[in-house]
Symmetry: C2
Subunit: 239 residues, 2 copies
């Protein structure tokens, strides 16, 4: 049995009962180093299989092979198991295998970060990753452009890394072609973890911000506003 | 104290610990009739304030006024509290009030439905509601068009209602201008509840489908495929 578990932002509080039960039931928990450390504080007596970043494929193959040996394995993802998570990779690698796989969803960073900022995602939104490890940058740019043209709220995952220091600036510049420099934006770093930080800022300010990969970014639509220090996209009820 | 609680798909299993604790702590739980009934089976001894659909504003005002009288109130939303939830409306209505408001995120239908189908949301996606109660249909059409042009996976909330029987067909027709009729689509009805139903179908078939408002719809991107009966959007790891 292989569970692919989205465990939420990181703390015990953000985990669903279903995720918790899968982890409790598992013989071994497989995951990225940082996430395994978070889970060890909640489930200290479990066996862990830990691999660093960019070893996702090896981790998934290990999880599949171990589960095939009649072990119960949980492959863990922060946030949701589907949204930029391991679910698709496991399903690809396990294609045709006689193995029971259960995908357990979790609260993705778009939603947990939004709750920290206020309610930025109360209307139609697009989720875009700025990581070009697996996606051509041209396609990412095209998606940012169409999301801005459609006046979607845009939620950005993986806004930056050492190698991609200027990607958020380039993304902001694309949006600036279609939206006002005063567009309300926000970001949250380390959502639900120690050292959580948030900031609400303008699109013009976002262009100059230096953020890391543990940050989730929100670019409001034309209606997004600030109320009592919170980022709010009205749904339209009060119109 | 006012909690705005996203309680997930409906069952106890899909609720986070944080959501559960807020509900346990509350003097009264306010929500839409159907969701209150779901919660009564988990928290039978709570006081409930129940209003039907389209009474969202009245419900929020009641929750704010009651919380101001030193009561702990949870205003509940299925899925997430932000994504087409009550969080933005409450923040608008409570603007300037001296009231502690905590927004508790939950697993939104995009993620819980995706886990039922497989892994359709493993790459950039757009979330669009087809409800034109609060949004002009022209804007909804524009967003569908740009999402299709950007080759986003599209997740559709509120695909239909009695008054809007042909909206999903119209949405499908827009996507068909940019994507193949064989594009892999899927839908899930009553996610995580009794009577859960799912189906994977082509965009051409989706055009003719008759769905209700308890259904979440996924239109794949150009890379989305079917593997062992599951809808999968590859992230690109195996390329």
């Amino acid at each position: 049995m292989l569970f692919i578990v989205g465990f939420g932002a990181g703390g015990e509080n953000g985990m669903t009962l279903e995720a918790r039960q899968a982890l409790e039931k598992s013989d071994v928990i497989a995951g990225y180093t940082v996430y395994a450390e978070l889970l060890k504080s909640i489930f200290p007596h479990k066996e862990y299989f830990v691999t660093p970043m960019r070893k996702e494929k090896e981790r998934c193959i290990w999880a599949i092979e171990t589960a095939k040996q009649n072990k119960t394995v949980s492959l863990v993802c922060s946030g949701d198991s589907g949204v930029y998570g391991m679910a698709s990779l496991v399903l690809e690698l396990a294609k045709g295998e006689d193995l029971e796989i259960k995908i357990i969803p979790g609260v993705t960073a778009a939603c947990s970060g939004a709750a920290v900022l206020g309610a930025p995602l109360s209307h139609d939104f697009a989720v875009i990753s700025l990581s070009d490890l697996l996606t051509p940058w041209e396609l990412i740019e095209k998606r940012i452009q169409y999301a801005a043209m459609g006046d979607f709220v845009i939620c950005i995952y993986n806004p930056s890394s050492k190698k991609r220091a200027d990607y958020l600036r380039r993304a902001s510049e694309i949006v600036l072609q279609y939206q006002s420099p005063d567009t309300v934006c926000g970001y949250v770093r380390n959502i639900g973890r120690d050292g959580e930080e948030k900031r609400i800022l303008s699109l013009k300010q976002l262009q100059e911000a230096h953020l890391d990969m543990f940050t989730t970014v929100y670019i409001g639509n034309s209606q997004t506003t600030v109320m009592d220090g919170r980022m709010v996209t009205p749904r339209g009820y009060l119109l």
